[in-house]
Symmetry: C2
Subunit: 407 residues, 2 copies
Amino acid sequence: MKNLLVAQSGGPTAAINATVAGVVSCAQSSGMVDTVYGAINGIEGVLEERFVNLGETLCGSQQISLLMQTPAAALGSCRFKLKDLKKDASQFEKIIEVFRRHEIRYFIYIGGNDSMDTVDKLSAYCTQQGIDDIHVIGAPKTIDNDLVGTDHCPGFGSAAKYIAATFAELERDCHVYTTKAVTIVEVMGRNAGWLTAASALARVNGGDGPSLIYLCESVFDTERFLADVREQLQKKDSVVVAISEGIHDTQGHYISEQVQSGALDQFGHSYIAGSAKVLEELVRTRIGCKVRSIELNLMQRCAGHIASATDLNESRMLGMKACQCAIEGNSGLMASVERISDNPYRVRYMAVPVCDVSNAEKKVPMEWITPDGHDVTEEMMVYLQPLILGEPEVQYQNGIPLHLFLY
Amino acid sequence: MKNLLVAQSGGPTAAINATVAGVVSCAQSSGMVDTVYGAINGIEGVLEERFVNLGETLCGSQQISLLMQTPAAALGSCRFKLKDLKKDASQFEKIIEVFRRHEIRYFIYIGGNDSMDTVDKLSAYCTQQGIDDIHVIGAPKTIDNDLVGTDHCPGFGSAAKYIAATFAELERDCHVYTTKAVTIVEVMGRNAGWLTAASALARVNGGDGPSLIYLCESVFDTERFLADVREQLQKKDSVVVAISEGIHDTQGHYISEQVQSGALDQFGHSYIAGSAKVLEELVRTRIGCKVRSIELNLMQRCAGHIASATDLNESRMLGMKACQCAIEGNSGLMASVERISDNPYRVRYMAVPVCDVSNAEKKVPMEWITPDGHDVTEEMMVYLQPLILGEPEVQYQNGIPLHLFLY
């Protein structure tokens, strides 16, 4: 028996289940895999042998379609780093023991940097132990788009599409009054500003989009920010600002931390506020106009109802690629996307050594931020535009999208 | 010449432009109207004679379709209450002067309670002055669903659909980890809990939906809330809570105010936090588990990309009804929806005296809240379900929905 096990890890996205769909389809069509299992809650579920038989659950194209449109990890997730192999091999021994018991020959792990670290360590352990019949492959996933070795990451395109559409809608909403007003919208990303940059895509159909965009790659200067806002308020009534969650000052302190230190509520607890909330208070005090802050919060990573068809399709293809790599006898690789051209948009699917990916981080190049520090360049727009294209046909029932429940 | 003027007022919704589309279509097809004007920024724009010729802008079904899918008031809005007629008639005189100059015989004002107050006062002024050739009619609009005289309000169904779909997605997202966690989601509504109730629709396809739902019609008891959350945490890892923005204690003080009094940030300003943020801090201190708060904020009223087809259609029909009422020579009425049956869902369009609507407020009946105070009843579900049905075919371009810009 040659069985395959797939698991999901890290923060959920709207496209991570499309990768599972790709893995299952490839395994089933290959004729090389007997049973496809899914582990519940990532590597934790592997250690605890919590498996579902995906071949039985995902029988037919309707189930696969539903899985594709279901946001967040349908197999559950975990935040779990394997111990250092040199210090403690017990977790690795346990995993191989579980694999042997269930005749798992192929293991596909879908996730971000930390998950690729797991793939790296586990395949290194197999090599070290001379285990050559178990193949461990990674498939990328993160809305943050910060993995190296791939042009972009599955999940990012759908989050970017949600952000672009939402900024376009917010701009319409904020435009209706004649009162001078500032709206500060916080987008996820502590170290990489890709998602915040996607707010610029709100302009692609002639809308104003955000007036100011601040990514976390630049140092954030509050005085400069206030001057920028004042300048925009001279030109228009409604100023919409996009900021990364992780904007920070010259010392590297997050802007969001600036309130935590001082503020206490009536119970005497220190207050945890987001960057946008801190800037809202700053604009209120220093400029004095109407101001509101908005966090796109979890909605930006789970809005399956407005996923990018390009993203879902690529996510599925990467699942297929990862499965194929494993079946071909590889280990320690991550499936990845290489962009061949922007327009027409063409990509090819590759595999890169996972050790180059794990624990690295791809930030926005500084030359893709405009010299004034509050917008993105045309190169960024060219990079982003194809990733949000296409609308999948979402199945609704009783007025809301249908989701598939695997456990 | 008999011209028609339409204007929008109050908070934007995803369906308010469908009502403009209905007014324009009816006016054009009636053969009774020469030119259809739109006033920019509601009654303020009337006073300042800022008009657009909608007959020229909205020529053809493609423009009407685009207007239907554009969220927020395409003609702009205002928050402007006319002065008391008994004290100062100058604004009324000015409006009639503007109407005469542009040969306006029909004026349709789309909005909520305050806008209906404007319709009421203006039609009363006309009656008092013996002006019988100017007809002033209201068309309802509010995501809050708090207008009397109508089964429900245009804009509510689309906001409810967004909320239902978003809670279903958030529930999927929060479900992936095995850590005990509480997610508190704040929904708009200071005095009426209809929108918060719509979170229960996340359950219609078998999903868990929110574990606890607190509407602003009930007194909110923080100790009871903590006990409810603790009880839910015994049963499941992820507890999602829906609360109205306007939840308040026995003295009528908003929960959101409880932090404003005490908290100061490092600049020494008092801190304005939402109800969900206050409860987040409470759960963190008193229960100590992982906790997050989310505000659906402006997104819930401007998410045109997931509007309810039922809502858009009814909004358009109400615009047509309002226009028809005016052309037939009525004044001081508001177009409204009467529900004939729940299943199959059938309605008819009526007109009610606007004086019964203005300055009144329709809250959730207490018998539609479960006796334990943290959920809604089956009657509420039956009432809500038809309002979110149907998905309009949204036109996308470059990956985001197309919007129409009228000014």
